[in-house]
Amino acid sequence: MLTKKIFSILVFTFLITPFAVFAEGAHTELSELSESEKKAAQKEYIDHHLQDSYDFGIWHAYGIEFPLPVILIDEGLHVFMSSEFHHGESVVESNGKYYKVFHSKIYRTDAEGTINMDESTHHPSNVKPLDLSITKNVFTIILISILIFWLFKSVAKSYANSMIPSKKGRLLEPLVLFVRDEIAIPNIGEKYYGKYMSYLLTVFFFIWFLNLAGMTPLGIGVTNNIAVTFGLAIMTFLITQFTAKKDYWGHIFWMPGVPVFMKVVLAPIELLGVFIKPFALMIRLYANMTAGHVVMMSLIALLYLFENWLARGAFLGLTLFLSILELLVAFLQAYIFTMLTALYFGAAVAEHDDHH
């Protein structure tokens, strides 16, 4: 009974996401603005929600939030709490330098906080300090990493006492076996899959949990950030290159079984492919997650634009359906990333007598 209750609470949390996303929007007087002003305000709201922020806001409208430390390196170390920014209104002074937040980025300004806009690129031309702060995304990554570490460590320890793991292990064991039997062994082969299992498991659960966290009403968009997916793709790229066997490089530059002039033509294409494959990994995850969020928020924005209650009901149903689809996409994108990574690892350690 208890598990049923917990499960229904979890499902409810995911299903109220669309409402919670725009609960704060109700506090601005949207009905008084004109049509195009409403659209502009909604666009700005959506953009703000997709970006990183310097404080962790659980419910901004009611003030449930806590500030995160801002760490800047700009001719010296500056550390202060982001609450001193007062939501982008005030200029913070630290060790003689002044900083201001403009569109979720920190710039160095003078005492009045002037931001000089560059006319041609429409971006500020102020200097940006090296920003190493703990932002919302960094905080979420740390939290999820600790969660995954604790989860799997406790499951691994429970194997010491019996063959059947503890209660959480009974949920996680089929998933781990799924990664091993469906993703690792078919793609990498029996001989070498053990070396790569830890990375594949980490990537799978990390991306899955991060995508799920993005679906909660907290407004955490970690995989919406192309820098995060870039980091993951770079790890795959580096591991592929540094654990590759000689046959891998032979296949790229001098593909066997093909006439000589084709080999010369194929070499640059294969070389480009070495870089484009992780690049596509990065773009795929980023675009899938961001597009899903943008579409969901746009549909809810349409809820506010229409006055007709029938239309509003229809869009609400569509948003609900899309939220459920997004949960599937969260798992699917983690699976696709892990599977393509395993595919590239398999190509790296493929032995010569395997396929020719």
Binding site: P186, I283, A287, A291, L332, Y335, I336, L340, L343
Partner: protein, 67 residues
């Protein structure tokens, strides 16, 4: 941007969706035919279909973001 400058972007986005839809639809169709022929190979076919669909969708999304 003027409203008329959005037209090429919208037309481009539509073309991208047509391309991705055709590609993934073809894969899905042939996957279903293959499953109908050999139901015991469903798992392998499903896996291969997902890989191909993800690759096409990756390009589709990248192009969509560039437009």
């Amino acid at each position: 941007m003027e409203t008329v400058e959005y037209i090429p972007r919208i037309v481009g986005a539509g073309l991208i969706v047509i391309g991705a839809g055709l590609g993934i639809g073809k894969i899905g169709g042939s996957a279903m035919e293959a499953i109908a022929r050999q139901p015991e190979a469903t798992n392998k076919i499903q896996t291969a279909m997902l890989i191909a669909a993800a690759l096409i969708e990756g390009i589709g999304f990248a192009a969509l973001f560039a437009s």
